[in-house]
């Protein structure tokens, strides 16, 4: 019962771990370059949750000083993750741009086809 309680009360961590591992799995297991980027996005998103969920304190209010409240949630993780989201978007954009160029140069975005047909040096 104790164990079950520990597992259930940390449900946010389970969600994070699930997203993290499935994202990484897609990156490793898929040969399609766009799908790989989707996996990469999922992997990065899980980290956003890793930062955000400990920042929220149950019963805490936004950090605006007021005599009525004593418990505040931490705003810093949100600021950090806002930056990380921008970085993630930039990475995704650059990755997709590269995939477009690869498609133009090789006529495919499947790794098997590209590496299979590539002349070896």
């Amino acid at each position: 019962m104790e164990l079950l309680h520990t597992i259930v009360s940390h449900y946010n961590h389970w969600i994070i771990i699930f997203l993290m591992v499935s994202g990484l799995y897609i990156v490793v297991a898929r040969g399609n370059m766009v799908k790989k980027l989707v996996g990469l996005g999922l992997f990065q998103t899980s980290v956003y949750l890793l930062y955000l969920s400990p920042g929220k304190i149950l019963g805490g209010t936004p950090p605006i000083l007021s005599p009525d409240f004593t418990v505040y949630s931490n705003p810093l993780p949100h600021v950090l993750i806002l930056t990380a989201i921008v970085v993630g978007v930039a990475t995704l954009a650059l990755g997709l741009a590269l995939v477009v160029r690869i498609n133009e140069a090789f006529g495919s975005i499947e790794e098997d086809e590209i590496f299979g047909g590539d002349e070896d040096e």
Binding site: F43, V47, A90, T91
Partner: protein, 493 residues
């Protein structure tokens, strides 16, 4: 006074320079801006180094917000050394860049190339100078995204694949780094590295902190191309434009090594790293695997740029070997090799870039007899190659001397033998190229080749001369590396 703001200028100047570059459409004007910015960087870096040597670490509160709440730029002996390394290489290659970029990049993209180059420089300097864990991540991504774009500008279509592959692996590495920082943040409640070091004391063996250490180590090791996380590197260096290869091989992995040292020694501390965890053993094994595995692969490469890239993986093995040896002399060897390897690898890639500029190929068979047509370039290649092997009188020898001495002090005489043995393999791959470029008949394709213009030749010869000079006068390199090693091992916290 302006000298108080040197830490901020070190990062802000290249950032603004990049913005200015982006406004130009003509490559040569953008080049001029990048040249001015790059030439200013070493002055700032040397200014910071002198200040640190005389007055101790500098703390700069960015935007006037006092640390640990604001972002702190913290310059101490180790990162002042890294700043000097990055900015000097950045400055030396700019004169070289003009001809090389004109030759390899389409005219309408040259201004963008310099923009991205300055962003990359800004990111690398930022990682080195910041004292804030998350700020380091942002700079890491600035430099990484710029790097992916630089690589993708290579002429060969395989450059796109190399850039894509590096983007995937680099992003995984950076995300691992953020996971590590996130775990540390949730345990300590701070992002300032010095503050974090204080608060970690007492909880360093908790599971979350150890998990953070594992994530940070793997994430940064991906960036520094520690064997077996190096797979992105050979293709990226082989197909990137020559100028990008010179810059990246000399600086990008070095800055990642610096970040690893920063976390290992100043945040987690010597006891956690060496006494409680088998990090020394792990790094010893991986370094040896890099030194031998990558060197052997290098012997069989037909593309000389790719061969040098594999040799970079092997040389990174020597640098991390310094971490594994874990005494002052060994660590000095690792840190001094950061600088020494940057000098010789930049010189080698410049020589190959110059050959590519003249004959349009870097395949070993096409290089036959090129020494008779481009004697200065081929001569620079030989001297820098000797340094790569570690011949006495070159910088390569200094690094290996310190590493060997450190291993000996540790009682690991077998490691001394292995260092010598791995050097023998580098004799094979360097010797193979030297034999082809000097002792074969001139290949038809290179019959009309001659030494490159002075703007390319001078930086190359300057770096080659430096590999000899710092092989004799080690006050600036090994002297500072020794101070840094002493400071790291003393447990600054």
């Amino acid at each position: 006074m302006i000298s108080e703001h040197l830490p901020a200028l070190q990062v802000v100047v290249p950032l603004l320079g990049a913005v200015v570059c982006a406004f130009f459409t003509r490559g040569d004007r953008a080049w001029f801006v990048a040249l001015v910015v790059s030439l200013a960087m070493p002055f700032i870096a040397f200014g910071l180094l002198l200040k640190v040597l005389h007055g101790g670490p500098i703390s700069y509160a960015l935007g006037g917000w006092a640390p640990p709440f604001g972002i702190e730029y913290r310059v101490d002996i180790l990162n002042a050394y890294v700043l000097v390394l990055v900015s000097v290489i950045g400055a030396v290659i700019m004169p070289y860049a003009k001809r090389s970029v004109e030759h390899e990049i389409e005219a309408d993209k040259q201004a963008w190339f310099y923009t991205i180059y300055l962003l990359c420089l800004c990111g690398l300097l930022g990682i080195a100078i910041t004292g804030d864990a998350f700020n380091a991540f942002v700079f890491m991504e600035v430099s990484s995204l710029a790097t992916y774009a630089l690589i993708a500008m290579g002429r060969d279509r395989r450059a796109l694949l190399a850039a894509y592959q590096y983007l995937i692996m680099g992003t995984i590495g950076a995300t691992f780094y953020v996971i590590g920082v996130g775990l540390l943040y949730s345990m300590t409640g701070t992002l300032n590295l010095a503050d974090m070091a204080n608060r970690i004391a007492g909880i360093e063996n908790s599971r979350a902190v150890l998990a953070a250490l594992a994530f940070l180590t793997v994430g940064i090791s991906l960036k520094l191309a520690l064997f077996p996380l190096h797979v992105w590197l050979p293709n990226a260096y082989a197909y990137a434009p020559s100028m990008a290869t010179v810059f990246l091989s000399a600086t990008a992995t070095k800055v990642a090594v610096y970040l690893l040292l920063r976390y290992f020694f100043t945040v987690f501390g010597v006891t956690v790293i060496y006494a409680d965890l088998p990090i020394s053993e792990i790094f010893l094994l991986l370094s040896l695997a890099a030194m031998f595995g990558a060197s052997i692969v290098a012997v069989f490469q037909q593309n000389v740029k790719r061969m040098l890239a594999y040799s970079s993986v092997a040389q990174i093995g020597y640098i991390t070997l310094g971490i594994a040896i874990a005494n002052k002399t060994g660590l000095t060897g690792g840190i001094v090799h950061l600088f020494n390897h940057a000098l010789m690898k930049a010189a080698l890639f410049m020589a190959i870039g110059a050959i590519f500029y003249r004959i349009g190929s870097v395949k070993i068979d096409d290089l036959a007899g090129i020494g008779k047509r481009m004697p200065m370039t081929a001569g620079a290649f030989v001297v820098a190659g000797l340094s790569l092997i570690g011949v006495p009188g070159t910088v390569g020898f200094i690094s290996k001397w310190y590493l060997g001495l450190g291993a000996f002090q540790q009682g690991w005489w077998w490691l001394v033998m292995l260092i010598v043995l791995s050097s023998v393999i580098s004799i094979i791959y360097v010797g193979r190229v030297v034999e082809v470029i000097w002792f074969r008949d001139v290949a038809p394709a290179s019959r009309r080749a001659k030494d490159p213009p002075l703007s390319m030749l001078l930086p190359m010869l300057l770096l080659t001369a430096a590999t000899i000079y710092f092989g004799f006068d080690t006050v600036l390199t090994a002297g500072i590396a020794e101070l840094a090693a002493e400071w790291l091992l003393a447990g600054v916290r």
